[in-house]
Amino acid sequence: MTADAETAGPPAAGAAVLDLGDIRITDSYRVGPKVARLGHLAAAGWPVPDGYAVTADALGRWLPAAARAELARLFAVPSDAPDTLHRLSVLAQGIIESHPLPPWLAEAVEQAHERLRQRTGRGQRLRVAVRSSAISEDGASASFAGQYATFLGVGDVADVLRRIRECWASGFTAHALHYRRRAGDDQLHAHDLAVGVLELVDVRSAGVVFTLDPVTGDRERMVVEANWGFGESVVSGQVTPDQWVVDKASGRVLERTVGAKQVWSAFDPAAGGVVLAPLPADLAARPCLDDDEVRYLCAKAAEIEAQEGVPQDVEWAIARDTPLPASVFILQYRPETAWATAPDPDPAPAPAPGKAFDPVQYALRHVFKVPGR
């Protein structure tokens, strides 16, 4: 399965799934830039989680022709009314849920998953992240970050298949439809979405490095935001993370702020996946990185920025019980949209709930009247 055989025309069945090692930056148009960049890093010898991708072409034709025609009819009428979008969404989800993935696609995924089990040496214990990877995501005209589904900690192949289909279906939620309408999609046709399936790193701490100060735009400073556990709690805005400000030139840590970390994203064996859970009290008050780790992450992010030529957000994870630098994994990176060239700096991530009133801080200040709160 070479990359350049499919530059035109419908892809052959064999190209439905690509191993990460075979993915290059030029594959963005079929695996999405998120996964393509990971393949690019892997080829350059960077530590990234191994995995595979289901291409947008394959997902674009997994539904039987009749069902695809039905979806196309649904979205032939342009409308932005919320109730219409909701109704369309319900109808679309119904069509999608009534069809299992076809055997040609299921088999390709099963084979790729088996290869991944062997490469990682984890066999049946392998757990993966199943991530939506939009072809147009992070593009200059609009950011769809956070609009599509991601599932962490998926174990067996049947669940992987189910989650792949759910990722694709997440392009038809009313929220996603509305988003695409705003982004200028006149006709609400089916979306171009690939899915990445990546080995789940046994994460101790995770977060984001901004290669500029995301608040002021100051390019001399880098900012690290992080929490214990998987990075989802940080990128979804569900936690006030630990924060470090680092001088880009010297690598010196200028500021350290331990966040009021109340929750974390942790693997829950009962739920069979990663869930948002209360952070154990002994971890909450402790910074989740040491200065060496902060400096190393910033150095790596600066390398990525130099390679890309514009400021970047770099998502990373640090594996448990592994010495630096082998512990550091780069999960994805993308141009820093707010201060970069994008004319429409849409902040994108879903708004975090409950920002205006924090009962705990309010009680400390106004009920218990603790001085200085």
Binding site: Q262, P278, L364, F368
Partner: protein, 587 residues
């Protein structure tokens, strides 16, 4: 202790003792205390304030109940406050006047401790409030699985070693249950009080808050509804006469003598299997559960039957819920912009982690139930000891202190004849103090100008006004002021009740005047016209239940039971928070 002209003191001197009971001194170190165990009053206690807790313990404590009190309101509260990190208080501490319980607080008074507790508090409480359903399900599940264990033990079939192990397990469980109680209570009261203060800040007034959180179904409201249905079944099956008129002791015989009586009694027993695991008071191992003695449940059914035409359980509940929703809408219309956003978020936080609901719900799992395993295992042990001639009757065991019992059972120095010899005196001591209960002051020690612990203010009602009234002392007044707990204005005849065991004296249409109410008082709210209490704030049982039953209620009046006499004609204004004596019975 200086005696200045300023603070009023109700001296504790009359109650100062070395011993908790004749022949027993609390052995310091017998319990793993965080701050301090249950003790008799000492002279030094004159410098602190002590509130009589007739809310939870109206009749006094037998020696065995002092161990359960130690685990509950003393140790449990202290450990809960310590672990949660409540900034201004290290929990409550108890003293006994005779056998009666007074509660005090342990204020945190250094800046460093307050700051370090505030840090801990934020870390501990935030995640719990963010995911309260799951957290409470975990704690409730732990408690329920313990009950599944204890309730199904075949105590009579156990050998002596197994039975003694069960007694010890039951005590250990009781202690654990009470840590859970205070852990959850402190977390939820913080959430509630934040909402209360926000409502004050944005001009709604804190007193509306508990009404906005009312109307949620609890295990006890389900219990009352089931009793109401059993009253309906009693009409269907034509067994109402004994329920309304018979002495509880003969009720079963009289009911079963009726043609369909056995059917009804069978349904009643089915009810008890689910809802009967409750005692009438907290920590009182000397009192039976409904499973043992269902008289309180039968009384409630009789109460429902005595008002056949008026009270409709469903209608009252629906009305309460509709009124709550109206009040929420009215509150939303009254605030704008960022205040509205904060209000909505605070409301959502309190709906998800609702103290008004939990305050009633937890009684079934903790307050009224946690001591039942101790009681059942102790009674079986007592029966065997009585059969061996060591004690006269099974419940003699409740007149031994837990350390005495453990010492004699585990080969310590104590001997049965010495212990048994003290029991008659201790029974007399308990009876003596039970009779003196109603005359004990609401507060002992130094009545403060202000109580810093917001929990004492909201749960026990120690507001500035309350303290003022107490300082003035008994006075010939015709108007009392308190917290406006449930709106409406009515006039009627007062019935003053000081202990829940007298509850059957209340007649339909009377105005209940009492120290404070707990879950066991709930049935009476179906027949009374209004409720007036000495103690209590916005969160107390009487406030919450009055709203659900749609009757006016004023709490925290400080002196209602001393000012008002049974038979007085009074006017209760639940919106203004006033109670007027219109015509006194006393000539």
């Amino acid at each position: 202790m200086t005696t200045q002209a300023g603070p009023r003191i109700n001296p504790v001197d009359d109650f100062v003792r070395d011993e908790l009971y004749p022949g027993y001194k609390q052995d310091f170190g017998s319990q793993p205390f965080v701050a301090g165990p249950v003790r008799p009053f000492s002279k030094a206690d004159n410098a602190r304030y002590w509130l009589r807790d007739s809310l939870h313990f109206s009749e006094g404590m037998v020696p065995a109940s002092i161990a359960t009190l130690d685990d509950a309101q003393t140790w449990g509260a202290q450990l809960g406050a310590e672990i949660v990190g409540v900034p201004p208080t290290r929990g409550s501490v108890n003293r006994l006047a005779g056998t009666h319980v007074y509660i005090g607080t342990i204020d945190v008074d250094t800046d460093w401790q307050i700051q370090s507790r505030a840090n801990r508090f934020g870390e501990y409480v935030g995640p719990i409030l963010a995911d309260f359903d799951r957290y409470w399900a975990m704690r409730a599940g732990e408690l329920q699985s313990a009950y599944d264990h204890f309730d199904n033990l075949d105590l009579t079939g156990m050998n002596p070693g197994q039975l003694w192990a069960t007694v010890k397990d039951a005590y250990a469980f009781h202690r654990r249950a009470w840590f859970i109680h205070f852990e959850v209570m402190y977390v939820l009261t913080a959430n509630y009080l934040a909402f209360y203060q926000l409502a004050e800040e944005i001009g709604l007034g804190g007193s509306v808050v508990s009404a906005l959180l009312a109307g949620e179904q609890t295990f006890y409201s389900k219990t009352d509804e089931e009793l109401w249905k059993l009253a309906g079944r009693a009409r269907d099956l034509d067994v109402t006469a004994p329920l309304r008129h018979a002495d509880p002791a003969d009720m079963r015989g009289q009911i079963e003598a009726l043609p369909k009586g056995r059917t009804w009694w069978g349904e009643f027993e089915e009810f008890l299997r689910t809802y009967g695991w409750r005692m009438e008071e907290t920590c009182r191992v000397d009192t039976p559960s409904w499973v043992e003695d269902p008289a309180p449940a039968l009384y409630t059914i009789g109460t429902f039957l005595s008002k056949p035409d008026s009270f409709d359980f469903h209608a009252a509940r629906q009305l309460a819920v509709a009124e709550r929703d109206d009040q929420i809408e009215a509150a939303r219309r009254a605030v704008n912009g960022s205040d509205l956003q904060r209000f909505n978020e605070a409301l959502a936080s309190n709906q998800a982690a609702n103290f008004a609901w939990w305050n009633e719900e937890h009684n079934y799992l903790i307050d009224r139930r946690a001591a039942i395993p101790v009681r059942r295992a102790s009674l079986e042990l007592g029966a065997r000891l009585a059969a061996e001639g060591r004690i006269d009757r099974p419940d003699d065991l409740f007149f031994l202190f837990k350390p005495e019992l453990f010492a004699v059972m585990e080969g310590g120095a104590a001997r049965w004849p010495d212990l048994a010899a003290m029991i008659p005196d201790r029974r007399a001591y308990f009876e003596h103090w039970r009779e003196r209960g109603p005359e004990l002051p609401t507060m002992l020690g130094t009545i403060p100008d202000v109580v810093p612990d917001p929990i004492m203010i909201e749960v026990f009602g120690l507001s500035g006004h309350f303290l003022e009234t107490l300082k003035r002392g008994p006075a010939d007044v015709t108007e009392l002021r308190g917290f406006p707990a449930s709106k409406g204005v009515v006039e009627g005849v007062a019935r003053v009740i000081t202990t829940v065991t007298d509850i059957s004296k209340v007649q339909p249409g009377e105005i209940l005047v009492c120290g404070g109410t707990t879950t066991e008082w709930t049935p009476v709210f179906g027949i009374i016209k209004a409720c007036v209490c000495d103690t209590g704030g916005s969160l107390t049982h009487a406030a919450i239940v009055s709203r659900e039953y749609g009757i006016p209620c004023v709490v925290g009046t400080a002196a209602a039971t001393q000012t008002i006499k049974t038979g007085d004609r009074v006017r209760v204004d639940g919106r203004q928070g006033t109670v007027q004596v219109l015509a006194s019975q006393v000539s």
